[in-house]
Each structure stands twice: as C-alpha cells, then as structure tokens.
C-alpha cells in the first residue's frame, strides 16, 4: 500500500468516525428535544388558571393540581431545611477540617456510595427508620428526612468543591488579621463559595422534588381533602400523582396528566436554569 492511499484511507476513517460519534451525540440531543417537545405538546393544553389553582376532582380526572403543587413545594422546602445546614457543615468539615487519613477517605467513599444507593432503598430505609422506628408515621417530615438522606451527598459534594475553589491566600489573609478559623470560614470562605454551594444544592433539591420512590411509602398520598397543616400530615406530590394516575385510575385524563408532567419538568428546569445562570453571573464578577 502506498503512503498516499494509506493517508486517504485514514482521512476516510476520520470522516466516518466523526459522523458515527456525531450521530450518537445528535441522538442524545434529539432525545432531549423530543422529551421537551412531547411534554409541551401534550401538556400545554391543560395549563390554565383553573388547573394551577384548583383542586383535583373525580380522582384527578378533572379539576386542577394546586394542592399537589403545594405538597411538592412543602416537602422540597422541608428537605432543603434539613439538607442545607447539615450538608454545608459536612462540606466544611471535609474541605477545612478533615485530616488526610483513612477515616476521611472512608467518609468520602460513604458519600459517593450514598449517591449510588437506589431511591427505592431510601424508601425502605425511610419507612423502617423514620416512619416506624422514629414514630413519625407516614408524614411530610418522614418523607423530607428520607429525601434529605438522598440529597445530602449532592449538597456535601457541591459545598466541598466550591470551598476548594477559594484560594488559600484568602483564608490566610483573614487568619493574619486575627480571625479564628471558624470566623474565617463564616465571614470569608463561605460567602465567597456561596454561589457554587447554592447552585449545586438547588440542582440536588430539584432532583429530590421529582423523586417518587422515596416518598411512596413514607408519606405521599393520592388523595387528600386539604393542604398539609402540620409536619406530621400526609401530602400529595406531583411525581406521585402522575404515577398514581397512570397505574391506578382507569380512563386517566391524558391532558391533565401531561399538564402535571409539564408543571413538574418545567418547574424543576426553571429553577435549575435560574440557579446555573445566577452562578455564572456571579462567577464572571469574581475571578481568582
């Protein structure tokens, strides 16, 4: 084979590889576009004031989803209230305090492993630990605690990474002014890392808002007459509502269910995108 044909063949292979891998990437992007388009196309018809502010009727085949939206918001806010302080403190521990020992390695291993535990196993754990052993019953708080265990790794990792981005010089500047380590962290390091921490946490919480398996037997219910009025009451939730409609309501109203899906995906996406945009704006302002 001459050198020239070899080079020509290499060029042809190059083109082929580019096309094949490009098609794979295009397929993934196409799938995402399809998901969005399909949800919007089927669900947009349901979106009106009555749907967003009314209560479901006829087992969800008619009416609105207001109490269901509120249930999701409640449980997500409660999850945030547990996850953020604990997760941020744990991230601070790992980034600022943890010695480089086997124990620290074990903690990090535990965190990556927690991120990989199936959501249904969290559901089992929540049922056994919070609902039964802790005696919280099937309740908003039991579900929020279950979701907290699931979201913690995300918040911890986001915090740790954001803290590592902060230059050591900045810490030393505060220490050299006579600030204690804690004051340095509280007044300099954490504020500087806040955009990364908050954005990462919101992405994790948005995912928690869309989870069904962990709340399946820890507090979510299909039908409820009123909004949850205490941490111990049960609650309705968007993802659980979709699941229950499809699997246990004969003749489920397609438009309303797709509308519910649109509200869920739209809400989660808007919050995630807003968080990401806010972070990039803050990043542009502050460069190390």
């Amino acid at each position: 084979m001459t050198r020239l044909t070899r080079a020509r063949r290499a060029r042809a292979t190059e083109q082929l590889a580019r096309v094949v891998t490009g098609l794979a990437a295009a397929a993934v992007v196409g799938a995402a576009v399809f998901v969005v388009a399909y949800i919007v196309k089927n669900g947009a018809g349901a979106l009106d004031v009555g749907f967003l502010t009314g209560a479901p009727r006829d087992r969800g085949r008619a009416g609105g989803i207001f109490p269901i939206i509120m249930g999701t918001i409640y449980v997500t806010v409660a999850t945030a209230a547990f996850t953020l302080p604990v997760g941020v403190l744990a991230g601070v521990y790992l980034s600022e305090y943890a010695p480089r020992t086997f124990a620290t390695r074990a903690i990090k291993l535990a965190i990556t492993n927690m991120a990989g535990v199936p959501s249904i196993v969290y559901g089992l754990f929540g049922l056994a630990a919070f609902v039964l052993t802790a005696g919280l019953g099937r309740s908003l708080i039991a579900s929020a605690l279950t979701l907290t265990c699931m979201t913690l790794p995300v918040v911890i990792t986001a915090t740790e990474e954001a803290l590592r981005q902060i230059p050591t010089d900045l810490r030393h500047a505060a220490l050299a002014l006579g600030a204690t380590k804690l004051r340095t962290i509280r007044t300099v390091v954490l504020p500087a890392a806040a955009p990364g921490i908050i954005t990462g946490s919101i992405l994790g919480l948005a995912r928690a808002a869309g989870e069904t398996a962990p709340i399946l037997f820890t507090g979510a219910v299909f039908q409820m007459r009123r909004l949850p009025d205490s941490p111990l009451s049960q609650f309705m939730s968007l993802p659980y509502h979709i699941y229950a409609q499809v699997t246990s309501v004969p003749g489920w109203n397609r438009t309303l269910v797709w509308g519910t899906a649109l509200v869920l995906v739209g809400g989660v996406s808007i919050i995630s995108v807003a968080a990401a945009v806010w972070r990039s704006i803050r990043r542009r302002k502050v460069t190390w």
Binding site: L170, A173, A176, L177, G178, R183
Partner: protein
C-alpha cells in the same frame, strides 16, 4: 552617636558600633516602645527536614527590617514565624525562642489569634476579600468586636489614609474591592492590616506582583508608616531593601541539604556598602541569587 550595648542570647553584654537596631533596642528598653521582636536560636523544620537553623535576630521597633537572600532560603518561612502563620500550614515545627516586646509568642504562651491582632501581614499577591472596600478594611476591627458605626468609619478612614489610598477611594467605599487595580488592591491590603492597629506589619514581597509605579507607591507608603509601626519586609529586590529599610538581614542556604542560616545582620547602609561577610558581599553585588 551612642555606642549600643549588644545583648547576646546567652545574656552576655558587648559594646559595638551602633546601628539603628541596637540604638532602637536601648531606646525600646528605656522608653517602652512597642513592636520589637527578639529571636534566639530559632530553627524551623518542614516535617523532618530542617530548613532554617539557629537564627538570632533583634527586630527593632518603629523601623523597617528587610530580610534578603536568594529564593528558597527561608525568608518567608522565618517571617511567618513572627505571626505564627506557620501553624496554619501544618507539618511546620518551630523551635527556639521568639518574643514580642519581651513576651514569648511560642507554644501555649500565646494565643495565635491574639498575636495576629498585634502583628499584621501583607501577602505577596494582593488578596482582598470579595467584599466592598469598606468591609475589607473593617474586617479586622469587626473581628475584635468593634461594632459602632462611627468608630468603624473613623478606623477605615485612618487606615486608608495610612495606606495612602484614602484620596482615591473616599467617594466609593462601597465599591467591590476586586474593581481596584492591582496596586490599589495591595494598598487596600495594607490598610486592612493597619485597621487592627498592629504593632508590627509583616510584608512578604508585597510589590513583587506589581508594576513599577505601584511598587513606588507601596514603597512611599512604607516610608510613611515606619515612624508608627515596626515593619519586617521580605524582598528579592536589593535596591528596594536598600531604599526602604533601616536594618537588613541576609539569609542564605548554602547547599540544598543544609538548612538556611542568618549570615549577617546590620544597619542597611553598612550591609550594602561594607558588609562583614564575604557571602553577603557576593550576594549584594549580584554574583549569585
């Protein structure tokens, strides 16, 4: 000129040709001027490797002491001993005795947090906090528990004046510190250090990341501060040391597997015109380093 009394670490006295450090020492003893350091037999080790050995040094109050020497000779490490910042690096062990105005700052004898309120530091690269100019300067006072607005306001103003930055920023103290130029940021860092009213300010090559004009401004600032605070400055730039310091200390690590020693210390003029040690002479005449 008075002949100064030299007090060796072992307590023996000797008479010597005066230089500013010695004159100030006797003055410090009489008039209780604050901000003098006495180092005796100070050694520093990173882990097991001894990097500095047997340093004896008196740092006079209200004067500028320059630490010079080739890179890697432990100037910055020695500087960090003075405000115990080596504690923060981990695995750094300091031995010997260091005292600030006669009070030991080693070990449990001194809370490093308290020490650092008395001994400020300015770093190699400007490192303002990501907050407003005002909040940067007010950080130290707030750390000391000062909350009164009027008190903070006047401290911020004095400190910015002390760092020769006041006129440039008085109109927009709320501006984010990152919007300042590099030289302004470094003067802001000096102001930030001044706001805790320290007795001593340590400067670790404060102008090495700056352009010549900003460097000039920093040097002017140092010249103005020397009458009110003790300044210890690490510098690579020998002209700078000659221009701004009263006392110069030359450190050298003669080979990679021996620790650095303090070769010579004395009045800056003498060090730069007529050093006692051959090695000092070759360094300042640019034969190595």
């Amino acid at each position: 000129m008075v002949t100064a009394v030299r007090i060796a670490p072992d307590g023996t006295l000797s008479l010597e040709a005066p230089y500013v450090g010695e004159a100030k020492r006797s003055l410090a003893e009489v008039a209780d001027i604050q901000g003098s350091f006495t180092l005796s037999d100070v050694s520093v080790a990173y882990g097991r490797e001894v990097v500095i050995e047997g340093v004896d040094l008196f740092i006079p109050p209200r004067a500028v002491t320059a630490l010079i020497g080739p890179s890697g000779c432990g100037k910055s490490t020695l500087l960090r001993c003075l405000n115990r910042m080596n504690d923060e690096l981990g695995n750094v062990h300091v031995q010997g005795e260091i005292s600030l105005d006669g009070q030991s700052i080693m070990g449990r004898a001194m809370d490093p947090v308290e020490l650092r309120m008395r001994v400020g530091q300015v770093f190699q690269r400007p490192n303002p906090f990501p907050m407003s100019i005002y909040d940067n300067v007010a950080y130290g006072p707030r750390t000391q528990g000062i909350r009164r607005r009027s008190e903070l306001d006047s401290l911020v103003e004095e400190s910015l004046k002390g760092a020769a930055l006041w006129e440039e920023v008085r109109k927009n103290l709320k501006k984010h510190a990152f919007e300042l130029s590099g030289g302004q940021q470094q003067r802001l860092c000096i102001a930030r250090a001044l706001a805790t009213k320290p007795e001593v300010i340590l400067m670790d090559e404060p102008a090495s990341a700056l352009d010549p004009i900003s460097t000039q401004q920093i040097e002017d600032t140092i010249a103005e501060l020397r009458s009110s605070v003790t300044i210890v400055i690490v510098t690579h730039n020998m002209q700078q040391a000659a221009r701004i310091s009263d006392q110069t200390a030359f450190m050298l690590r003669e080979s990679l597997d021996t620790p650095a020693h303090l070769i010579e210390v004395g009045d800056t003029k003498k060090i730069f015109t007529n050093p006692d040690d051959r090695r000092t002479e070759s360094y300042i005449t640019g034969r190595f380093g």
